[in-house]
């Protein structure tokens, strides 16, 4: 394999350093100009760029198998690489649902063959995401995909007894249940956040309490059976308080927030443009501020994109007919910079934490999310925090054009992504996948 010398990058925003990458591993890190590179080493000028460990997304919809018109593992992982991610967790709501060892192995293999980023399939908690019968969780855990995270994402495991059993059962192989917290009866026909905007627009409300009630129940169940819970896409100020309370009581709960919930509010729904339709829905300004603070304080552990590409026809229609979800892989780091770094809430070291170290730690990944130190796998994103770009979904490599940031000016840009030592993105453009 070849060698790369990343020159004058700022590891996690610190002092400039050179990083020598050889054979997929960080060989050495040192002051600029001090490293001895083997012959044939290619130099990648990273002056001004922040070097972060490759980002790890706990929440991606790659849509394959079954919805290849929306995204494929290939296109989704290209989008991941372009956004600085070197590992993504593919949610189970494919068709067929990823509720068997066969499907998770298929997704895992597609990811490996694509070679743009690690793909970790998420297994469905219940058969067909129907919320009635546990999937063969152990078979998925023992498959080549080594599934550790299970989720019915898109749907809530709302039956309390089933949720309890799932939490208990995964303990035998170190699994974790990732809950999409949405009380189904309280959100029947729900179209947007329930509040002043839904009152004005006459769209059926999705009340905050429908999320908070499930999280409250689940943290108590998790404590009772001494298991691990991950709360997907926390979207309300009230949910933050419940997670905080649970953590203070010692419950093993981790929480995630999406970039869009850190930036956008339900005021956007006044346009009736379905690009803003997402589940959980965009909330209020007060929620956005609470979520940002919660990430800064560590109550929320990670940022997960909930990248949810859809074909145009599923968004170019009436609001109530439109699909839920927004793309996010290619804009996540920019939104995090805008909402958390440029606001002074955190530095790049913490960004590395919430987007790489911590998700890798939660999922027990040994080859992702490590410090940029000699011996670590060379998963590195070089992020140029200067300047800004107007988001043009047509330029995205995801198949999805449903970016809520369309036309917005977002800061920064990915200059390069190294995936296991191979530059899958250079000068902001995709190159070639990792050959195995």
């Amino acid at each position: 394999m070849s060698s790369y010398l990343i020159s004058s990058a700022r590891p996690e925003g610190g002092e400039p350093a050179d990083i020598l990458v050889t054979d997929g591993v960080i060989a050495s890190v040192g002051a600029p100009g001090t490293l001895e590179a083997p012959e044939g080493t290619e130099t990648v000028d990273a002056a001004g760029a922040v070097a972060l460990p490759g980002l790890v997304d706990m929440h991606t919809h790659l849509r394959e198998p079954g919805h290849e018109d929306a995204e494929t593992v290939e296109t989704g992982t290209r989008a991941a690489a372009k956004g600085g991610f070197t590992a993504v967790f593919a949610m189970a709501n494919s068709h067929p649902v990823a509720d068997t060892a066969g499907v998770v192995e298929q997704v895992w293999r597609l990811g490996r063959d694509a070679g743009w980023a690690d793909v970790h399939p998420v297994g469905a908690v219940t058969v067909g995401l129907e919320g009635t019968q546990l999937s063969e969780l152990r078979a998925m855990a023992e498959s080549r995909a080594s599934v550790r995270m299970f989720s019915d994402d898109g749907k809530c495991v709302h039956d309390p007894l089933l949720m309890r059993r799932a939490l208990e059962y995964v303990k035998s192989f170190g699994g974790i249940i990732a809950q999409h917290a949405q009380e189904p009866r309280l959100t029947q026909d729900a179209q947007m956040n329930e509040g002043t905007v839904s009152a004005d627009l006459g769209l059926t409300g999705w009340p905050a309490v429908a999320e908070e009630a499930i999280i409250a129940r689940d943290v108590l169940l998790t404590q009772h059976v001494d298991s691990r819970l991950h709360v997907c896409h926390v979207s309300t100020a009230g949910s933050v308080e419940i997670v905080r309370w649970a953590k203070e009581r010692g419950v093993v709960v981790t929480a995630e927030v999406t970039p869009h919930h850190l930036l956008l509010t339900d005021e956007l729904v006044r346009t009736f443009d379905p690009v803003y339709k997402v589940n959980p829905p965009l909330r209020t300004d007060e929620d956005v501020r609470a979520l940002r603070r919660a990430v800064a304080e560590g109550v929320i552990d990670v940022v997960g994109t909930d990248h949810a590409p859809h074909p145009a026809e599923d968004k170019e229609c009436e609001w109530s007919c439109a699909a839920h979800g927004m793309t996010g892989l290619e804009t996540a780091l920019a939104v995090v910079q805008q909402t958390l770094v440029d606001t002074g809430l955190m530095g790049w070291e913490r960004v590395a934490q919430i987007m790489s170290h911590r998700p890798a730690e939660i999922l027990g990944l040994s080859d992702q999310g490590q410090k940029l130190e000699p011996g670590a796998p060379a998963n590195i994103v070089l992020w140029n925090p200067e300047g800004s770009t107007t988001v043009d979904p047509a330029s995205h490599v995801s198949k999805g054009r449903n970016s809520p940031y369309r036309g917005m000016n977002l800061p920064g840009a990915v200059r390069a992504t190294f995936y296991r030592g191979h530059p899958v993105v250079l000068d902001g453009e995709l190159t070639t996948p990792l050959a195995r």
Binding site: Q191, S198, G202, T204, E313, E318, S320, C321
Partner: protein
């Protein structure tokens, strides 16, 4: 005014102007030849994704009295799941050179999407979208209220607003586009609006609505309001636990004969309004519906006048007078 999508976006001046024009249109409808050449050669499409014979006929009559060509396009069912999408339907209509699209849709926001999407360049008139808005209904209600005031004060309606009038809107506010449109329009015209409903049938967050809210119909009626507008109640709401039984709803929030008698005893000036179709015996008693206080039929005929005014203003490009020049 390019489109008419909701009353929230109408200024005081625009609203009064539409109502003044509507009064002139009403004069046309009372003549033996009920027709103006104003929109001759223009095409109005009634695009109805939701059944509503009354509203469609009202718009159709309005367009025809202005000599426009009318195409009725009834597209039941919604996009994606069933057949053609809103986008394709709209573009098909544009290919037929529609000048105005009157759209009725079960999905809140569909008219605004049509207006904003760039799919079409016709004027869009919202004829009722989901639970969002029904601006021509609110305009015809305002027209009716001006006539009520005019009868009482003996002053002509032209230029009149609703300053100081007390209007009570009763019933299923949560699911009502009529209530939403009336709150904005009537208050913009100076009326005081009180919404009365069981708490289950009110939105949880109404902080920015410029109106009062009460759960107690009798207390509000005791104030002898100028008008009570009863909203149509969908019977199936009971199954979703919005109220325990029809009888209990009627006792609490229906315009029952007892309540009519109490208003009589008070000597209240209150008129009874209803957007129709009425559920007699549920939200409104026959005694109320058939009383001299009822304005239900005036509302229907005002509907045609208001829709004529709206189509005229959107399509003629001339906001002054509907009458052709004498010379």
């Amino acid at each position: 005014m390019r489109h008419l999508l909701s009353t929230a976006e109408l200024s005081y001046g625009e609203a009064v102007q539409i109502l003044d024009t509507a009064d002139q249109m009403a004069a046309v409808s009372s003549r033996s030849v009920k027709k103006l050449p104003a929109l001759r050669g223009r095409t109005v499409v009634n695009l109805f994704f939701e059944d509503s014979t009354r509203t469609r006929i009202s718009f159709e009559t309005a367009a025809k009295r202005l000599s426009a060509d009318v195409i009725n396009f009834s597209a039941k069912g919604s996009s994606v799941s069933k057949g053609e999408s809103l986008k394709d339907t709209a573009q098909t209509l544009m290919a037929m050179s529609a000048d105005a699209v009157v759209i009725r849709h079960a999905s809140s926001g569909a008219p605004q999407q049509l207006a904003d999407s760039g799919w079409i360049d016709a004027a869009v008139v919202n004829a009722g979208d989901g639970k969002h808005a029904h601006p021509t209904q609110a305009l015809l209600d305002a027209m009716t209220l001006r006539q009520v005031r005019s009868r009482r004060t003996g002053t002509p309606t032209t230029g009149m607003d609703l300053d100081g009038m007390h209007v009570v809107v009763v019933g299923d506010v949560l699911h009502s586009r009529v209530a939403r449109s009336n709150v904005w329009l009537l208050t913009a015209l100076g009326a005081r609006v009180t919404l009365v409903a069981p708490p289950t049938l009110l939105p949880v967050a109404m902080d920015d609505w410029p109106c009062e809210v009460s759960y107690d119909l009798d207390a509000v009626l005791a104030e002898a309001p100028d008008a009570v507008m009863m909203l149509r109640l969908q019977r199936e709401r009971m199954n979703a636990a919005f109220f325990p039984s029809e009888a209990e709803y009627t006792r609490g929030w229906g315009l029952t004969s007892q309540r009519v008698q109490r208003l009589e005893a008070l000597g209240a000036p209150t008129v009874f309004m209803h957007p129709g179709p009425m559920n007699r015996g549920l939200e409104i008693s026959s005694e109320a519906a058939d009383s001299e206080r009822s304005t239900v039929l005036e509302q229907v005929s005002n509907g045609v006048s208001v829709r004529m005014a709206v189509l005229f203003q959107l399509l003629s490009g001339d906001e002054s007078t509907p009458y052709p020049s004498e010379n």
